[in-house]
């Protein structure tokens, strides 16, 4: 779980992020809640025209509300630079800074070879439901870092198909979320 410095300034769903220097994760959920769990958020704005006016009229909201991102840990990097797509031995500490990965980091996380390394999908596949959306989003985002996004997505989808073998409906649901149909890329 991470918290953004600014309200609503979270990285997009499925973004590959780095916690500190060596832990990788994928944004698998974004929630905005009141900072104080005992105080419920009140619906406002009955008397104004736009949403922006609400925030202008109540500048304290920026401080009372927080956007949190849920990050599924998908791998880590050893001191020698080798990336593993499985959980690190320790989780990141509280207050570890989160960074959005650069395209270079994305590529190094997925491996440089012809077939992307997608062992981490196993970690994501366990979530089910919105996890599948996060998985599809992660693949969509990551594909942009590669020269041939479609080839990446096909290879990734095949890994998903192996992982979820026997559940064609679910595979189909994930594949439909990916832009790999004819002419979409």
């Amino acid at each position: 779980m991470g918290q953004c410095h600014q309200l609503y300034e979270s990285p997009a769903l499925g973004t590959l992020v780095r916690a500190g220097e060596d832990v990788f994760g994928v944004v698998s959920g974004i929630t905005t809640t009141a900072l104080d769990p005992s105080r419920r958020v009140i619906a406002r704005g009955a008397e104004v025209e736009t949403e922006a006016e609400i925030y202008a009229a109540h500048p304290q909201l920026e401080k009372l509300l927080r956007t949190d991102v849920k990050i599924a840990i998908t791998g880590h990097r050893e001191a020698n630079g080798v990336v593993h797509q499985y959980l690190p031995s320790q989780p990141p500490r509280i207050h570890t800074f989160l960074y959005t990965c650069t395209p270079d980091e994305v590529r190094s996380f997925f491996g440089i070879g012809a077939v992307p390394r997608l062992d981490f999908l196993y970690l994501l596949a366990g979530f089910g439901g919105s996890g599948d959306d996060a998985m599809a989003a992660a693949l969509r985002n990551a594909s942009q870092a590669f020269n041939d996004p479609r080839a990446f997505l096909i290879a990734a989808s095949r890994t998903v198909a192996m992982e979820l073998s026997g559940d064609t409906a679910r595979i189909n649901a994930i594949v439909r979320r990916l832009p790999i149909g004819e002419g979409t890329i």
């Binding site: 096909i154 989808s157 095949r158 998903v160 198909a161 192996m162 073998s165 026997g166 559940d167 064609t168 409906a169 595979i171 189909n172 594949v175 990916l178 790999i180 149909g181 004819e182």
Partner: protein, 548 residues
């Protein structure tokens, strides 16, 4: 002698061997049911064909097998209902992952690491063992190379450059069968076998050539002329004709004009014809009585009897009606042109055949217009074979007693074999006996037939090597495969043979069953006819050179 072989075929460099192409991995199976091979890689589903020859690399053994079935599998039992809205992308994702193709491979042989000689497969490779399409080298290792005892018969499917060779030495040790529906290439295969055996001096032939197609040039179904044995082996082949007119019409001069004497026909010969001629069991019994009474000339005497003699015979216990019927039937025999009242002086056809065979010549017995006359064909084939078999038997026994040279092996080729070897009469005819006692007396059969289901099961099971072209009838397919190891799998292969030039070969002369595209007969005939190769059959002296 060996130079002639080396100059040909063997010296000719084989094309470079293919790289082994992986087609899949082992994912399950059993020795009895065959191995399940998951096909990997793109496009292999359509490339893998039934009958394809594969090798499987285990950790300590290498296995050889053939693909006997193919199936499409999916990991999801509900795939067919879930896939309704799948598009091209989905198909690309699922193919090879959630859905895949499986091949059934029957393991046939195995070789241990560092061993040369393949053994029948008695163990299995482990899961994930890679399965490769066999290379030229693999096939060569199993089927040998063309040499003194091996003949190149065809190429495995999709391996046009690879040669499958039959071990002729093993072949002639037992009776064999060539099957296939009409027009499937039986006669071409038979010609290749006959020529190759003769060429290599492994046996002498006696061919009952029903349709006059083996001796001289014949015309193939596609219209071109096909060389006969006589043209390839020349004076090494003697052509006997039962129908001189037919031979003359074709501008040919047979070496011998066959005449059969009524006094050469014995009751046994009639017994075999009983169903063809419509003679009852009582009639057959009467034949034996007549033979006891009149000896060799029994038919002549019987046909020549007047009414009072007939009445006399009837009074001695034979039923008058039976005798009358028998007489009418025997008259049919008498009407056949090549049957004469008495055998020609000098021993007749049987002796001539034996003399020719003894001098190392191959004998082709042409039936001319009698080819379609079942009675004539069965009578002559049976009559001659019985006496020849008796003679070989005598010679073998004498040779055993005196430690002398055994007679040279004789291969008797019969067409439409079901007429001699059907369930009811196989036990009575000489052909049934020959098929059963194998090589004991140095006489074996080459059975050529289009209806193997008509042949006695016991005889079929004795056939050492079976060569089968396409068969349509389910019963025929079952009959041919009866008793063959892995017959269930082979059935799938056999029923998918193309209608021409493809044959399934299995049995003693091969290490494992194989489907081949048979070699072109014209090429074969040309090869056989070139100087040095076509110097006629080897005499006894040459055989000694070859086999010590």
């Amino acid at each position: 002698m060996s130079n002639a072989f080396e100059e040909l075929g063997l010296a000719e460099p084989l094309p470079p061997k293919d790289e082994a192409v992986e087609i899949g991995i082992i994912v399950g199976g059993s020795l009895s049911q065959g191995l399940d091979v998951r096909l990997t890689g793109n496009g292999t589903v359509e490339d893998a064909k039934v009958g394809t020859f594969v090798t499987i690399q285990g950790t300590r053994h290498r296995y050889f097998g053939i693909i006997t079935d193919l199936s499409l599998e999916s990991a999801d039992g509900r795939l067919s209902s879930n896939i309704a809205n799948a598009d091209a992308a989905m198909a690309e994702v699922l193919s090879g992952t959630g859905t895949f193709a499986q091949a059934q491979v029957t393991p046939m042989l195995m070789t241990g690491m560092g061993e040369e000689e393949p053994q029948p497969a008695r163990s299995l490779p482990a899961h994930f063992a890679p399965v490769n399409r066999a290379t030229n080298e693999d096939v060569q290792m199993i089927f040998g190379e063309e040499d003194k005892t091996h003949i190149y018969i065809g190429s495995p499917l999709d391996m046009e450059d690879t040669r499958v060779c039959l071990n002729l030495e093993e072949l002639v040790k037992r009776s064999n069968g060539v099957f296939g529906k009409s027009g499937s290439g039986k006669s071409f295969l038979t010609r290749i076998l006959l020529t190759a055996i003769a060429q290599r001096g492994l046996a002498t032939h006696l061919i009952f050539d029903m349709h006059s197609e083996y001796g001289w040039q014949a015309t193939s179904e596609s219209g071109y002329a096909v060389k006969g044995l006589r043209q390839i082996l020349q004076s090494g082949v003697s052509v006997f004709s039962l129908d001189l007119e037919s031979a003359r019409r074709r501008n040919l001069t047979p070496d011998y004009d066959v005449k059969i004497g009524l006094d050469e026909i014995e009751p046994e010969d009639i017994a075999i014809l009983s169903s063809t001629l419509g003679i009852s069991d009582a009639g057959v019994n009467a034949c034996y009585t007549l033979y006891d009474r009149y000896g060799k000339r029994w038919i002549g005497e019987f046909l020549g009897m007047d009414a009072s003699a007939m009445a006399g015979l009837a009074s001695e216990g034979e039923h008058a009606g039976v005798l009358g019927a028998l007489r009418r039937k025997l008259r049919d025999l008498d009407r056949i042109a090549f049957i004469q009242p008495e055998a020609p002086s000098g021993g007749g056809a049987v002796k001539q055949v034996l003399d020719h065979l003894a001098s190392g010549k191959h004998v082709v017995m042409e039936f001319g217009r009698y080819g379609n006359d079942q009675m004539a064909y069965v009578l002559v084939a049976n009559l001659i074979t019985r006496r020849i078999h008796a003679e070989y038997r005598k010679r073998t026994e004498e040779a055993l007693a005196s430690d002398a040279k055994q007679p040279d092996p004789l291969v008797i080729t019969i067409e439409e074999a079901h007429r001699f070897l059907s369930g009811g009469i196989a036990s009575q005819t000489i052909f049934g006996t020959i098929a059963r006692e194998m090589r004991k007396y140095h006489v074996t059969l080459l059975v050529v037939d289009q209806r193997p289901s008509g042949i006695d099961e016991e005889v079929l099971s004795q056939l050492g090597t079976r060569i089968t072209c396409q068969l349509d009838n389910e019963r025929d397919v079952d009959a041919v495969l009866k008793g063959a190891p892995g017959s269930r799998e082979l059935k799938g292969v056999l029923s998918r043979l193309e209608s021409q030039q493809q044959a399934l070969l299995f049995g003693h002369a091969l290490r494992m069953p194989v489907v081949v595209r048979t070699r072109d007969y014209q090429d074969f005939a040309t090869e056989m006819s070139i100087p040095g190769y076509g110097r006629g059959p080897m005499g006894p002296g040459d055989k000694k050179d070859l086999f010590g």
